[in-house]
């Protein structure tokens, strides 16, 4: 069952008349219980896509086209009150910066309990008790004592776990996690990823995971959407995507990652050129300026199903064939 479906989402910045397009016709979907990874270059529009699903786009940013359905309901038609109720109950988010997204003046226990109280799912005392339980689940030692502390008294890794506890306590149906482990060390990252998988499986929570780490993608995702230049350029199940990427950008991205089993000290494969900023996107295929397969056809914009097959899609006129 499709839980979330985003179609043709377009987000622009700036005043009418002088608008800059940052997200350009993004479509993606998440099924109930599934983990979908959203990957891509820095600035490709991953965070903006996530924020707009929650209706949390910052000032100056406008969704100018597209439709977002959650559980079949069009989020644009919900009253602000209904949207707020959805957030924190059925839809939760973990942000890129754990420390700055927690309130420094409220104890972590109260912050974890908040969504239960706000949504009237538990009384104050019961909610606090469940918050302590949740803090324990996410691996915080001495949870009862920690619950009474302020975020500033906790390490970055612990704050991250507090965010996760706060997001998961109401057993949301969809969790959007924006780089939830980027600021963490690998041993802590491993704990958090295990925890997300465990809690996800237990409550049937679907996860939209934004990351730039292909290792993390491989270890967590069922399906992957690859973004480049404000567009989804490839979408496929994780195993076939890694084994046989179709879009040249995906192929190059996979080849650039240094691997432990690679002979050391040799030149690494690298993608020539720089990530173009939205102001400098080339006409036609956005990857054209760095693509080794580009030709005259690529001055037109390839649609996502230009190279479709089964449930795979790729936006390319000359897709890669077979294992890379």
């Amino acid at each position: 069952m499709t839980l979330l479906s985003v179609s043709d989402l377009t987000i622009e910045a700036g005043p009418p008349g002088d608008r800059l397009r940052l997200v350009d016709g993004v479509s993606l979907s998440v099924k109930a219980g599934e983990t979908v990874a959203l990957v891509g270059e820095s600035g490709s529009g991953k965070s903006l896509t996530a924020l707009s699903i929650l209706g949390l786009l910052g000032e100056g940013l406008t969704p100018t086209a597209g439709r977002i359905l959650f559980d079949g309901r069009d989020l644009a038609t919900l009253a602000p009150e209904e949207l707020r109720r959805l957030r924190g109950a059925d839809l939760a988010m973990i942000f890129q910066e754990p420390v700055s997204s927690l309130n420094p003046l409220v104890t972590v226990g109260d912050q974890v309990a908040e969504s239960l109280i706000v949504h009237g799912r538990a009384s104050g005392a019961e909610a606090r008790e469940r918050a302590v339980e949740m803090l324990k689940r996410v691996g915080i030692p001495e949870p009862a004592r920690r619950a009474r502390q302020l975020p500033t008294e906790l390490s970055g890794g612990m704050c991250q776990r507090v965010m996760i506890a706060a997001a998961l306590i109401s057993r949301p149906r969809l969790l959007i996690a924006d780089e939830p482990t980027t600021a963490l060390d690998v041993t802590i990252q491993a704990q958090i990823l295990d925890l997300l998988a465990e809690l996800g499986a237990e409550a049937g929570t679907a996860i939209l995971l934004i990351t730039h780490d292909m290792g993390v993608v491989a270890e967590t995702a069922d399906r992957v959407c690859v973004m480049y230049g404000g567009r989804v350029v490839e979408e496929a199940a994780a195993v076939p995507l890694f084994a046989a990427p179709r879009h040249p950008y995906t192929g190059m991205l996979l080849r650039t990652i240094p691997r432990l089993d690679q002979p050391p000290k040799r030149a690494l494969y690298s993608i020539a050129g720089n990530v173009p900023s939205p102001r400098d996107w080339p006409e036609g295929c956005r990857f054209r300026t760095r693509c080794t397969r580009a030709d005259a056809a690529c001055t037109a914009l390839p649609p996502l199903d230009a190279a479709g097959e089964g449930d795979r899609r790729a936006a390319c006129f000359h897709p890669l064939e077979g294992p890379q």
């Binding site: 780490d213 240094p258 030149a267 690494l268 690298s270 720089n274 990530v275």
Partner: protein, 328 residues
């Protein structure tokens, strides 16, 4: 030949800890680190956030106070250098930090930034523009862009500017503190290739501080693994990655996500419980004892010694590398 040797280095910072800045504490950021680096060699220092990697590099650069221990450059104790000798030594060692944005003056052209060390060290001014062009070409920048401000460059190009500036005085040693972590993945490999090529062409030695172990595996000759201010394992990269001995190194390596979804769920991961303890309040004895899966009660008693387990491979663990069993 040994270019740099760090002997039993300690860097302790006094800090105020109480909520109102009352109580005094001591952060033992680096607490007895010994390392050496040969010419043309890459020594990587890895370990979790806050374990003292940057502080070690900063102490070498004179940017962190040395509480105890010695730093020898080309065999000579830097603490005994006079002003002229220190200045000469600092020509020979340069640094590339993580964040190319804050490393460059946004109002200066990149040519001026690259020329800065040349000007400071009294390079003849007539030769400077030529040298700047040469450096830009060396790091893969087009000299036509010399008048640009850093704001008009991409992150990868800015890091190239920082590297060009570090190479201006032809150093022997470059301390790279997380040189690619702020860059997008597709740009990281460009910069790593550049660093490897420059090492080859110019005979540079790198003290390479990083937390991305896949990057370290690729670029390092030797690796030192730090935990809470001390080195817990050190050796040739092939040994530390291929045959890790310290339980922390094992956990660290097993936690690296592998980019192959076909292996999903089939890998055995060593799961550590708990966080890195606060450096203000380290556990007695072995610093890893609070998270170690094979700890014994005796581990709390004394800090284990760094014991040779193999040629150039040293491990600090009383279970895996007991004292007195060296080279057996």
């Amino acid at each position: 030949m040994t270019l740099l040797s760090i002997e039993d280095l300690k860097v302790h910072f006094p800090v105020r800890t109480g909520r109102f800045g009352g109580a005094k504490g001591l952060v033992k950021a680096v607490d007895g680190v010994s390392l050496s680096l040969a010419e043309r060699e890459t020594l990587a220092v890895v370990g979790e956030s806050g374990c003292g990697k940057s502080t070690t590099g900063n102490a070498v650069l004179g940017l962190a106070p040395v509480t105890a221990g010695r730093i020898l450059f080309e065999g000579r104790d830097m603490a005994r250098f006079d002003e002229a000798e220190r200045k000469a030594a600092w020509r020979e060692m340069q640094v590339v930090f993580q964040d190319p944005v804050s490393a460059l003056n946004p109002r200066q052209s990149i040519a001026r930034s690259i020329a800065e060390p040349l000007v400071i060290h009294g390079h003849p001014s007539a030769e400077i523009p030529g040298r700047v062009d040469e450096l830009m070409e060396l790091v893969g920048l087009n000299p036509d862009q010399r008048n640009r401000r850093p704001g008009a460059l991409s992150g990868g190009q800015r890091q190239r500017v920082v590297i060009a500036r570090a190479l201006a005085l032809s150093p022997k040693l470059v301390i790279c503190d997380e040189p690619v972590s702020a860059l997008d993945v597709s740009i990281q490999s460009q910069i790593l290739n550049l660093l490897m090529r420059l090492q080859e062409e110019l005979g540079l030695a790198y003290l390479f501080i990083a937390h991305d172990l896949s990057v370290v595996r690729h670029i390092a000759d030797r690796v030192a693994v730090m935990y809470l201010g001390i080195v817990v394992e050190e050796g040739p990269a092939s040994k530390v990655f291929g045959d890790p001995q310290h339980p922390y190194t094992e956990a660290l390596l097993s936690a690296i996500p592998v980019p192959d979804p076909a292996l999903k769920g089939r890998r055995q991961r060593i799961r550590l419980e708990g966080d890195l303890p606060s450096p203000l309040d380290p556990p007695p004895g072995c610093p890893f004892v609070t998270r170690c899966p094979i700890a014994e009660p005796a581990c709390r008693e004394a800090r284990p010694a760094l014991v040779d387990v193999d040629e150039g491979h040293r491990v600090r663990c009383r279970v895996r590398a007991p004292e007195g069993a060296a080279n057996s």
